[in-house]
Amino acid sequence: MAAIKAEAVPYRDAFRANPAEPAWLVDARAKSLAAFGERGFPSRRDEAWRFTSTRPLAENFFVPVRRDLAVTANEDTDFGKLGFEGPAYRLVFANGIVRALPSKLPPGLWLGSMSQAISERPEAAEFAISEIDLGGTQPFASLNAALFADGFVFDLDEGVALDRPIEIVHLGKSALPTSIYLRNSVRIGAGSEATVIETYVGQGAYWDNVVTNIAVAEGASLTHIKLQDESREAVHFASARISLGWSARYRNFGLTLGANLSRNDIQVLLGKGAHANIAGAYLQRGDQDTTNAVVIDHAEPDATTQELFKGVLDERSHGAFLGTIRVREGAQKTDAKQTSRALLLSDRASVNIKPELAIFADDVKCTHGAAVGDLDKDALFYLRARGIGVDEARRMLIEAFLLETIDTIESPEVREHLARQVRRWLAAEKA
């Protein structure tokens, strides 16, 4: 038996095989647990984790949540103004366990919980467990495979354009350090169109560990929005692995406001002629710390990628952006552009931006740009010289700075929903 890392021991000990689960899953869980045990937590010596501290996780054992754990989260009071106001097919999770399902679904759509899918729709569950970890950098995804209790499964048939977004709401609530594991699967059939909005919110000290596998079939289009406004004591790690078929389109926008420590891993594998638009905005204050790590893999010709990330860091907060673009041999006519910018609003705030291009084809266009700065002094003076107070002027300029990222979203309702969240953050008291 291989040696197990000390930090992995309590998680291994908390693991209970469930004999009611199908054999393939029992097996996958055991293997994943062993893989995590050997690997342990990533450290700053791992290139992909150089700028992300896992110290808050090492200091505490976050007890894995059990299905039978009492959950007192209340949708209305805890969720508040974070919900999407338009019509949506909504799924609600409390501490990682499904609590509410949409009542009526249109034909061609399967939307439900992972616990349900394991028996009713095993191929979707298997897809969610399949490893498409492009960088080999995700030990927490292995831990997730071993311990996940639930998640959402979204299957859309071929040729269906959904009339409203799928909204996935996660409420976390915990008095003691608790770990929550969600395993999600999204499969969009050829030529179909859909939007998924994920929202994370909560109270107390918990660790959300989310893994989502996504396949967008040929000619299909998926818009994937995420609003992360977790409790300020929470840890939020989410990993999305997306594969895009021929001419498929994928748009991802993440707004990071909450959590004490958070990380988004987004890995996209593009097929021929596919298009990925990956954007994000992160706003942090106090001693919050967030990382966006995006790996774009151009495996075939004629595909395009646009990446745009913007951060606003106040007080002692820290942000990081790691952007890898890989263009494999034969992926000719790849067109990829990456932009990452950050505003540092305080002397003690900091950011790390690390672009990485690995290009093995010769007929490609790849650019990246990064900039870190403060608010434009001339613009600030101009606004103040018109009677606008300094705080309001700063808020206006910060919102303007972020606008470009939100503008990558096509739906005006979703754009406004997110712009409202940004304004709410800006209006909030400092930590």
Binding site: A379, F381, R384, A385, R386, G387
Partner: protein, 247 residues
């Protein structure tokens, strides 16, 4: 209304730019300040509006008897001071209309006047746009974003017309305007003339002063007002240049 007394100022950590400017502006008056490039005209305007980055070594500025130099820029604007920038700033992502409404309401609140609702605001905007012959669509863009040089200057005067200041300082608002635009802008300025208001125009050209006739003309050179006179001084300068002027 405005009194500048022996003002000495330098760029933070740099050389002295204003060395002993004194100027008195009373309500109802229009003053023109002329002077060679680099003589300190924009520096003076910036200091009056509250731009930071200057060291005031000595001297004083009062506005309605109040010490102006300790007031933050927004308070000066709320007290009725308006600077039309020589180089209006482009602010992408901040919508022009929204910006103007926030500004106007901030100033109205300071004067204990009720804020304008969207309808009242729009009505006022429409009237003033017409006066300055500005296209509607300019207002839907980011503040000054993609405006031509002349459009930026017109937008400054449009903002002035909306905010109705008591003391307007216009820094080379006439530069870069075509002949028709100059007439339109001058008309906008003249409409603001009133017994309880004052205007200080910084300019290089006699032309503007033909439309907006000043009560006083001053020559600023090397950081000091070296000569003051009535409107005929501008005509004289046009002929002789700055070389022969001053002490």
């Amino acid at each position: 209304m405005l009194e500048i007394k022996n003002l000495h100022a330098s760029v933070e950590g740099g050389r002295e730019i204003l060395n002993g400017v004194s100027l008195k502006v009373k309500a109802g008056e229009v003053h023109a300040i002329m002077g060679p490039n680099g003589s300190g005209k924009s520096t003076l305007a910036g200091i009056l509006a509250g731009r930071d980055g200057y060291d005031i070594a000595s001297g004083a500025v009062t506005y309605d008897g109040q010490d102006l130099l300790t007031m933050p820029p927004e308070e000066r604007a709320r007290a009725g001071i308006f600077l039309a920038f020589q180089y209006p700033v482009e602010i992408p992502g901040v919508n022009n209309m929204y910006f103007l409404r926030v500004a106007l309401n901030a100033i109205r609140r300071a004067k204990s006047e009720p804020e304008l609702d969207a309808g009242q605001f729009l009505k006022s905007v429409r009237a003033k746009l017409k006066l300055l012959e500005i296209e509607d669509d300019l207002l839907q863009r980011g503040v000054n974003v993609g405006f031509s040089g002349g459009e930026k200057k017109r937008n400054e005067i449009f903002q002035m017309a909306m905010l109705e200041p008591r003391l307007a300082i216009l820094d080379e608002t006439d530069s870069g305007l075509d002949i028709d635009a100059l007439r339109i802008v001058a008309n906008g300025i003249n409409r603001l003339r009133a017994p309880d208001r004052a205007i200080v125009m910084i300019t290089h050209y006699q032309r503007l002063l033909d439309y907006v006739v000043p009560d006083f003309v001053h020559v600023l050179s090397e950081g000091r007002i070296v000569r003051s006179g009535d409107r005929s001084l501008a005509g004289e300068l046009e002929k002789t240049g700055y070389a022969g002027v001053g002490s």
